[in-house]
């Protein structure tokens, strides 16, 4: 398989993730779309690892997963905290801070 295929597949997933963050109002879904972006990166990283025959990139993917896990725990905690207060996860109601 040419590396381009993976490059474009990964870019497509990445951009779908970006579209998702732009289209949805539910904070959890937006967060999921960001996870999708991270996975697109992981896929590309593994493809490059294969291309170079280098294990470094796969270890890097590990670390991305580590960080993603840490972020998820904090992020979901923040979303739950918000939900407790306003009983919604709609990001449109987050507009006390503006101007």
């Amino acid at each position: 398989m040419p590396i381009q295929y993976y490059l474009f597949l990964s870019m497509a997933l990445f951009c779908i993730g970006i579209m998702g963050t732009l289209m949805r109002r539910n904070a959890i879904i937006i967060f999921m779309c960001i996870e999708l972006m991270l996975n697109a990166v992981n896929l590309l990283m593994v493809a490059f690892s294969k291309m170079y025959g280098d294990a470094q990139a796969q270890v890097f993917v590990f670390f991305i997963m580590v960080v993603a896990a840490a972020e998820v725990s904090v992020g979901l905690a923040i979303i739950v905290m918000m939900y407790r207060k306003v009983h919604s996860v709609d990001i449109n109601i987050l507009n006390r801070l503006k101007h």
Partner: protein, 460 residues
């Protein structure tokens, strides 16, 4: 390296100390003692390192130079100053005082990594170590909905920018086959291809987010406004300076070789940042929010150092700017914390009520506005000089100076409110002798930076 270990250990110790000690004040004092100890460690590390040398650790994961150590030392010093000035306010935010301070120590650990990383993985981890505690600190005032909102906004956008950063790193890896930013195979001007350019641009965007440069600045005003003020003070100073040192580091060590590919884009970012930061700050009604926009504007100036990253003046300028901006901003925020009403009107007549507070606030504002004989002027002078030496950036320099002239307007609005308006500025808490002493020391530091900047550039 010693500082990284020490910062982690102090953070962990603080977490355990909270089990044993219930008193908030004692906790805060312990944290200040730890901070002083950490400051000592950074000084020690600086002293034992030969001037101009650099030491690589763990297969070139880190390459800690004298310059980086000096930066660490100064930023820890600023953190100590911050801890002393803000500890009372931190105690007011919530019950988890030990945890807040532990997070600040972890942030410092990230700062130390960012001043000496040599591997893109370390850059990524350093930025995350710095960011995750910030998401938490921004949302730490749980009684206040604004704080939660700031936290969620910051988190969502921060995670988004993490994705961008990772995509950039991956593309750079794909183009070069290496994560080592100083490696021989990494980004040479003759082998650069479209993938490398794409990588550079993605990484640039992500770092622009962290330093709140336009068009990735949108989170800044909301988050700085919503987060509890003492944490805003920390986020907008030391953390931002560290993001800048990471920026500079990357551009100095690797991207500098291929500056023709990114110089134009970064100049446009700089111009936009200056424009948006300054113009929007003019119309703010809340001083806290004005400071958020002004921090965007200041970031525009700091970007000059990145633009001219290969000159000596840029590296000196970055240190001076980081210290001058941090000290000045910490100072003005600690004044802001004493004022009950954070709008401009809340400052009316402060000079009558608390002349000292008004006076030091004036010095801090003058420094932020870049008036000579304050640190801010020297900082701006250094970075602008660096950009001039780089050449081809004269238009940007002139534009920046124009914007700096505008910035005087909104900084002076505060001074006018304090001195030239009638009013009864209400304080949220009394100003004690200790506060006054700390504020005076901070003000003296600002002036000292303006008179003898060489003092802060020990041997570099």
């Amino acid at each position: 390296m010693k500082a990284i270990i020490a910062a982690t250990i102090f953070g962990i110790l603080l977490m355990f100390a909270s089990i044993l000690m219930k008193d908030k004040k004692a906790m805060a004092n312990l944290a200040i003692v730890f901070m002083a100890a950490l400051f000592g460690v950074t000084i020690w590390e600086l002293i034992i390192t030969p001037v101009g040398s650099s030491q690589a650790y763990y297969n070139n994961m880190l390459n800690i130079s004298y310059y980086g150590l000096l930066f660490n030392m100064l930023m820890t010093g600023c953190s100590l100053l911050y801890a002393l000035l803000a500890s009372k306010e931190i105690q007011k935010v919530g019950v988890h005082v030990a945890e807040y301070f532990a997070l600040i120590f972890f942030i410092l650990c990230g700062v130390f990594i960012l001043s000496g990383y040599q591997n893109l993985l370390m850059l990524f981890i350093g930025i995350e170590i710095m960011s995750i505690p910030q998401y938490i600190l921004a949302g730490s005032d749980k009684k206040n909905l604004k704080s939660s909102e700031a936290s969620l906004k910051y988190f969502l956008m921060g995670a988004f920018s993490t994705g961008i950063l990772l995509m950039g790193i991956t593309l750079l890896y794909g183009a070069t086959g290496s994560f080592n930013i100083a490696g021989l195979s990494f980004l040479q001007s003759n082998t650069i291809g479209p993938m490398a350019i794409a990588g550079i641009l993605f990484v640039m965007m992500a770092l622009a987010f962290k330093v709140s440069a336009a068009p990735m600045h949108m989170w800044t005003p909301d988050v700085y406004d919503g987060a509890p003020t003492p944490f805003t003070a920390y986020m907008s100073t030391i953390v931002k300076a560290a993001a800048f040192i990471a920026f500079l580091h990357l551009f100095q060590f690797s991207f500098g070789n291929v500056s023709n590919t990114w110089l134009l884009v970064l100049s446009v970012i700089t111009a936009l940042t200056l424009f948006i930061g300054n113009i929007t700050a003019v119309f703010q009604q809340s001083v806290k929010r004005m400071l958020a926009y002004s921090s965007i504007a200041q970031a525009g100036f700091m970007l000059f150092a990145v633009l001219a990253s290969n000159t000596m003046a840029a590296q000196h300028g970055m240190i001076i700017y980081a210290v001058a901006y941090s000290v000045g901003t910490i100072g003005i925020f600690s004044v802001l914390m004493k004022i009950k009403d954070n709008t401009y009107d809340g400052f009316n007549g402060l000079a009558q009520k608390e002349p000292l507070l008004a006076f030091v606030a004036t010095i801090f504002l003058l420094s932020l506005a870049g008036i000579p004989l304050t640190g801010g002027f020297m900082a701006k002078y250094y970075v602008v000089m660096a950009a001039v030496q780089q050449g081809h950036l004269m238009w940007l320099v002139i534009f920046a100076l124009l914007m700096a002239a505008i910035s005087v307007y909104y900084y002076f609005r505060v001074i006018i409110a304090m001195y030239f308006k009638q009013g009864n500025a209400e304080l949220s808490s009394p100003v004690t002798g200790g506060d006054k002493l700390m504020l005076i020391i901070t003000a003296i530091l600002v002036i000292l930076l303006g008179i003898a900047p060489q003092l802060f550039l020990i041997n570099i």
